[in-house]
Symmetry: C2
Subunit: 478 residues, 2 copies
């Protein structure tokens, strides 16, 4: 019941002392994942072989699934063919396929050589479905019942055949032509009278998905319809698999992780963070940094082209960072809200104008708040001396004083905060439009990373800034 | 089976024509959520009252849960007390509590007046649990069985009592003193022989949580142990509730959304995006922009203090944007990986040094790649004229040519790309350390938003940049 019930040391000790009974007892009272994590830290993989030899296969099948990839590899290399075959036969096919996807090719060959012919065929088929599709996460071990059975017959059939199935909580109901006609929840069956006919108690309002569907789509269906399991149909509309809600829990988490890292400009990891080595990690991070660096050239270009304006009015330079940061931050906020809203299907590309209208109003209110705050803050900065500006006359170099200095400082402050307001409007416009545009083309909106939006907004903010500066200072000072 | 089976217009038509049989049939074949969405768009809420009057309560209870908050409010205002009481009695308490949390106070009072006394007591209790804790998402309608029953007796008891329970797929087993001693999966019960004793077939390796536990923690337990449902214990270790995996699916999604928006500097929304109005949305966005604006002052300060250096070497200015962007982007990458890894418990604060060591090596490899690429790119920019730099002598103003010009451009390029390398190291250091630090203090690491890290890294990058520039140009040009 408590994680502290098991530790690597304790387990190793029991194995060294050959205390088979105590080890078996641990499997009764400690969740398998906790035992697996203890086993992952074994110094000597032969300890693990010992466990697989002396513990019932109904436990070790789960244990194998929960081990880390490293440990699995070591274990397979150490075991004899017959020991391996033993473990493999007791595993669910979908778990086995997941394992195989992460193993090196030579071990995959060895595994495939050691499973029964039927299982091998199923595995090969499942391995061929594209990653992240319904086909790749479904199991083929599901239960079907004929709609003409009585509740009592159904229960007897489940008792006979259900043990090797992934779930018996959702049962698929077919007609005599083997077409899917409904689903049956086990609880409805339990509550039914013995002679009730399945077709009278099954759900006819079931939903299905297809093998090629994206796993995120499947997750959205299961969530929306609150399903325990969903039927997977092939292109001929035949029932070929099943996906359960607990597979989906992992998918939801994976997809969220993928969206988050993509949006931060990290290419999706093939494995978990800890299992990705340093060099591979760098390869996931560096390319986007380079792309963004090249895109950032436009900002540099603008600053370079307006070098004369900037050296004539060096006070403009310190505010460049604030403008860029705020624009980027505002863009990142909207981009994130859009990408997430699209991912959880709260809205779609068809809602673009509705959402844009909302975001532009949000941008205006946000922009005005920030603008007023910023105008006061910038004045404060200049008066306190955080940013030095005495408004010295451009030609004579004589510092301004009193009312004239105030006007000069106020102009600067209004110029920068006005740019902020416009920048926020641009940022929220770009942040709304780009993810929506990408989604409209059926691509993943998370491709639009926040840094990408930032880079675009930077360019716009700088252009607005220098444009406004030129107008203001030509009018006031010129 | 298909969403197209139902539309608002069609449903309204049927209601106007009083076609009760057809309406009932729709509830047989169309998933409730689809019907609820069609009902949300009704012009006239009395149509909805008609449905609640003529469709079986086993369907309308679900329908009520799935309606939007707006529609629920309208409906409650329109219905008589007895109609309302009817709907409410058939609802699961946890759904009802969720509804009440979103309703205005006067309607809550009306709802509470119209449920049975026992239900009201339970609701009041549940409403008092802090939001986002196990207590606030659990249901109290769970099934307990005595460990001494036989399988057959257990099934009979389930048939008698199970219908009003949230789930019968996971059943809690108690001893004669009413202490929790195990859990029983319904499938194990189905497969058991009629006279087997529950205590022999139940799981003893169950996990539990407590009412005060954060819902994210509960989600992590359910995921880790692949549970259908988890027992919730009160402070005296007594079983008081149950949380099922489908409640957790929503939690996982909510928590991911919250983390993502927090990290983008948006305060967590109380409702969904679409249900949050423009002004409230602006209030979620503006504060962080202001805070970051104030923090950004440090960057402005640095640029302002080194005004003389920058006006002497205006070529340094255009690169400021690239330095800031790249540092911010690299920091955002690491921050996101850390926040996510901590959220899904792939690692914890105790792994800090291990992770930091990894990230610093990633930073070095990433930094070197970006640095080499950037050095070449900057040279290219200057030779192509994207960024104008003729290396004119500071005093005489005579442009450099040939080898001297190349050396000058190379120095600039190496200076900037060197700063990039150091900036990336700092960014990954800050991006690793801050979320870990926050997690170590048991606070939500997503509080460390990427923009926050960016702002810190900006300051460091600028200091490095101007520091290096001073050294390089004092040596080479000085």
């Amino acid at each position: 019941m408590e994680n502290e019930l098991i530790s690597t040391e304790k387990l190793e000790q029991l194995i060294i002392e050959r205390k088979v009974k105590e080890i078996r007892n641990i499997f009764e009272v400690v969740p398998t994942i906790d035992i697996a994590e203890a086993c992952d830290d074994f110094e000597d993989v032969s300890h693990l072989v010992f466990i697989f030899k002396f513990v019932k296969s109904e436990y070790t099948a789960d244990l194998f699934t929960e081990l880390s990839n490293d440990t699995k590899e070591k274990l397979i290399q150490t075991m004899s063919d017959s020991e391996l075959a033993n473990i493999l036969e007791s595993q669910f096919t979908d778990d086995l396929v997941d394992d195989l996807e992460d193993l090196p090719a030579n071990l995959v060959t060895r595994v495939l050589r050691n499973v029964s012919k039927e299982k091998r065929e199923v595995i090969n088929k499942l391995l061929n479905y594209k990653e992240n599709t319904a086909g790749s996460i479904m199991t083929t071990e599901f239960l079907v019942l004929l709609e003409s059975l009585t509740a009592d017959e159904a229960i007897r059939k489940i008792r006979r055949e259900g043990k090797t199935k992934e779930t018996i909580y959702t049962i698929f109901i077919i007609d005599s032509k083997r077409n899917l006609v409904g689903t049956l929840d086990l609880d409805d069956l339990i509550f039914a009278k013995a002679d009730e006919i399945i077709s009278d108690i099954m759900n006819r309002d079931y939903v299905t998905t297809t093998i090629g569907a994206d796993q995120e789509e499947v997750a959205n269906l299961i969530k929306r319809y609150d399903l325990n399991a969903i039927a997977v149909l092939n292109n001929e509309n035949r029932l070929i698999g099943l996906i359960t809600v607990d597979d989906i829990v992992d998918v939801i988490e994976q997809e969220a992780t993928e969206d988050m890292t993509k949006m931060a400009g990290v290419a999706p990891l093939d494995n978990s963070y800890l299992e990705t080595n340093v060099f591979r990690m760098a390869l996931k991070c560096a390319p986007w940094l380079m792309v963004l660096l090249v895109l950032g050239t436009f900002s540099s270009m603008i600053l370079s082209k307006f070098e004369t304006t900037l050296s004539a009015l060096p006070i403009l330079v310190p505010f460049v960072t604030v403008l860029m940061d705020t624009g980027g931050n505002a863009g990142g906020q909207t981009t994130t809200l859009m990408v997430r809203g699209l991912a959880v299907q709260e809205f779609g590309p068809k809602d673009y104008f509705k959402i844009l209208w909302k975001e532009m109003r949000v941008a205006l209110v946000t922009g005005l708040m920030v603008c007023v705050f910023a105008a006061l803050w910038f004045l404060f900065e200049m008066y306190v001396g955080i940013i030095g500006f005495d408004g010295a006359d451009l030609n004579s170099g004589v510092p301004l004083v009193g009312g004239e200095l105030f006007v000069a400082r106020l102009s600067i402050s209004l110029l920068v905060s006005g740019t902020l307001l416009l920048g926020i409007l641009v940022a929220k416009f770009v942040g709304t439009s780009l993810p929506m545009l990408v989604a409209a083309f059926k691509k993943d909106p998370a491709l639009i990373s926040s840094p990408f939006v930032t880079t675009i907004v930077d360019v716009c903010s700088l252009l607005i800034y220098i444009g406004l500066a030129t107008i203001v200072f030509n009018t006031i000072l010129g």
